[in-house]
């Protein structure tokens, strides 16, 4: 089966000046849409995906055959109701679901980019996706939204294009990657690079796959997406299909088995080099530094109405970091709301069935739209 037949893509021939200094003149952006654009073209919502997400927000992902990554929030009758809104999501550049990324062939060398792919940033991702507005002939989006790295893209989008979205909903994110965030990402990258099959990033041309490294990276990252209480409640010290400890290094505990499984399914759908480049983009994200330490200035010209959402048990992008964004927006009298949702599901809460979150989101979006 041809994978590319299931992926819609847009070829952009407008030059993109990357933060690293390089310019790319021609690149692909893979995207998906849900619902339909109305006549007034005022019902479009651009969703930005997180580190390991893709353009398949809702429904069944045609490549993995699993539910879209934000199926709890986006779909017919859901918080982001696709009967009402036109939802667009693109695979970020650097990604591996059809967009310009390290697994693509470099037209100049006729070889896979691999580690020679340019080091991209969140700013580059957002500037690339801005072309979607032109493609769909949308003057102004109703909303930009996303969680985690998706939230960072929301912040960058509004900063770059202060008048292109009516509302912005950055969820469980930060305006500047913390030392702890960078540390966890570095752990993942080093794990990939330590896999002999990574071969300096050139694994594709040598028919190798650094599955072990990538899967350990995913396992480590997965822990950061959950909360201690959530893990304890779900797994505790429960044993995996055995009555007693085996005095070996097999997966005695359910949590070990669970993490191994998460790692193993991840390598089937994700490219190791993409993981390196995207985590790097996250680490480089510092909207505060971009404006000489004054985050408010990043939003100085904006008329966009913001809703910031955090979760009580999220220790990766904790409430305090989300509140810094709120404070920066209040300092310039911007239009901003903020809620912290009670949940023991950790950073992953935004992806899961957390009714308080989904209901609040739904009502906020619908009321903000009807107040047009």
């Amino acid at each position: 089966m041809n994978i590319n037949a299931k992926i819609k893509s847009l070829n952009i021939d407008k030059p993109l000046n990357l933060d690293c200094g390089q310019t790319i003149n021609n690149y692909t952006l893979a995207y998906e849409t849900y619902g339909s654009l109305n006549k007034k073209k005022d019902n479009a919502i651009l969703v930005f995906h997180a580190l390991t997400g893709d353009q398949f927000v809702s429904g069944t992902n045609p490549i993995t055959k699993k539910d879209g990554w934000w199926s709890y929030a986006v779909g017919s009758g859901k918080a982001v109701d696709t009967d009402k809104y036109f939802v667009i999501c693109a695979n970020v550049i650097g990604g591996c679901m059809g967009s310009f990324g390290p697994s693509k062939i470099n037209p100049e060398t006729k070889k896979i980019y691999g580690i020679n792919f340019p080091v991209i940033t969140i700013n580059d991702m957002v500037n690339a996706q801005y072309n979607l507005l032109n493609f769909f002939k949308i003057e102004k989006l109703f909303a930009v939204m996303g969680g985690s790295m998706g939230g960072m893209q929301v912040l960058q989008f509004v900063s770059n294009f202060p008048d292109k979205a009516k509302i912005a909903i950055p969820i469980a994110c930060t305006s500047s990657h913390s030392a702890q965030n960078i540390a966890f990402n570095e752990l993942g990258r080093q794990s990939i690079m330590a896999d002999a099959e990574w071969v300096g990033g050139d694994y594709s041309s040598q028919n190798k796959t650094p599955d072990k490294g990538l899967s350990v990276a995913r396992m480590a990252a997965h822990i950061t997406y959950l909360s201690k209480n959530g893990l304890q409640e779900k797994f505790g010290r429960k044993l995996q299909e055995r009555d007693d400890l085996k005095f070996s290094f097999d997966a005695d505990f359910q949590i070990e088995s669970y993490l191994r499984y998460q790692g193993s399914v991840f390598v089937d759908r994700f490219d190791a080099n993409s993981y390196l480049f995207i985590t790097r983009a996250m680490d480089y994200f510092d909207l505060t530094k971009e404006y000489n330490g004054n985050l408010s200035r990043a939003f100085a010209k904006t008329k966009t109405k913001f809703l910031i959402i955090s979760f009580t048990s999220d220790w990766l992008y904790p409430t305090s970091e989300n509140k810094e964004i709120v404070i920066a927006l209040n300092a310039i009298g911007a239009d901003v709301g903020f809620v912290e949702i009670e949940s023991d599901k950790g950073h992953d809460s935004f992806l899961l069935d957390v009714p308080e979150f989904l209901n609040t989101l739904k009502d906020y979006i619908n009321n903000s739209y009807s107040n047009n």
Partner: protein, 198 residues
Amino acid sequence: MKKEFYIISDLIENNSRVLDVGCGDGTLMEYLKNNKKIDIRGIEISKNNAQKCIGKGLSVIEGNAEMDLTQFPDKSFDFVILSQTLQAFLNPETVIKELLRIGKKAIVTIPNFGFWRVRLHLLLKGTMPVTKNLPDEWYNTPNLHMCTIKDFYNFCYARNIRLDKSLAFHNGKTSSINEINLNIKNLSAELGIFSIEQ
């Protein structure tokens, strides 16, 4: 909507910028937004209420006014509203200072502990007053700093806070408070409604 909110609304000019501190479920905010074209923001400590407000599409920040007002710039609002919340703060004096810093005017309403029913309750029953405006028992009340209309009046006077409007509220009716009738209003009103500035 309760009568108090209509009175507060009458004190606010159309098309102004307003912050409702302790905005509850957003009832007053919605009214001001829809009827007076107010550019309205809110801050609310209860998660449940903050979520209700957000659900209505209102720009409300879940937070504690005692800590979170510092983030607003000087005179960034035309009016700041504090409805029956002053008594619940650890440090009401600091909060009033903050309200007057961020707002050109502040509208503060207080349940009047000097109201005759309250006084009579304490005098005759000898237990802490429980009334319509003060429904909690002594052991579970959120009210840490109860005051009377006269207390608040004197408080403002001592700090050179200008009382732009001082209203006594009782049985759905309002009347002006001045130096001369202060003792009477302090006895007869359930609620004091003040518009203050500095």
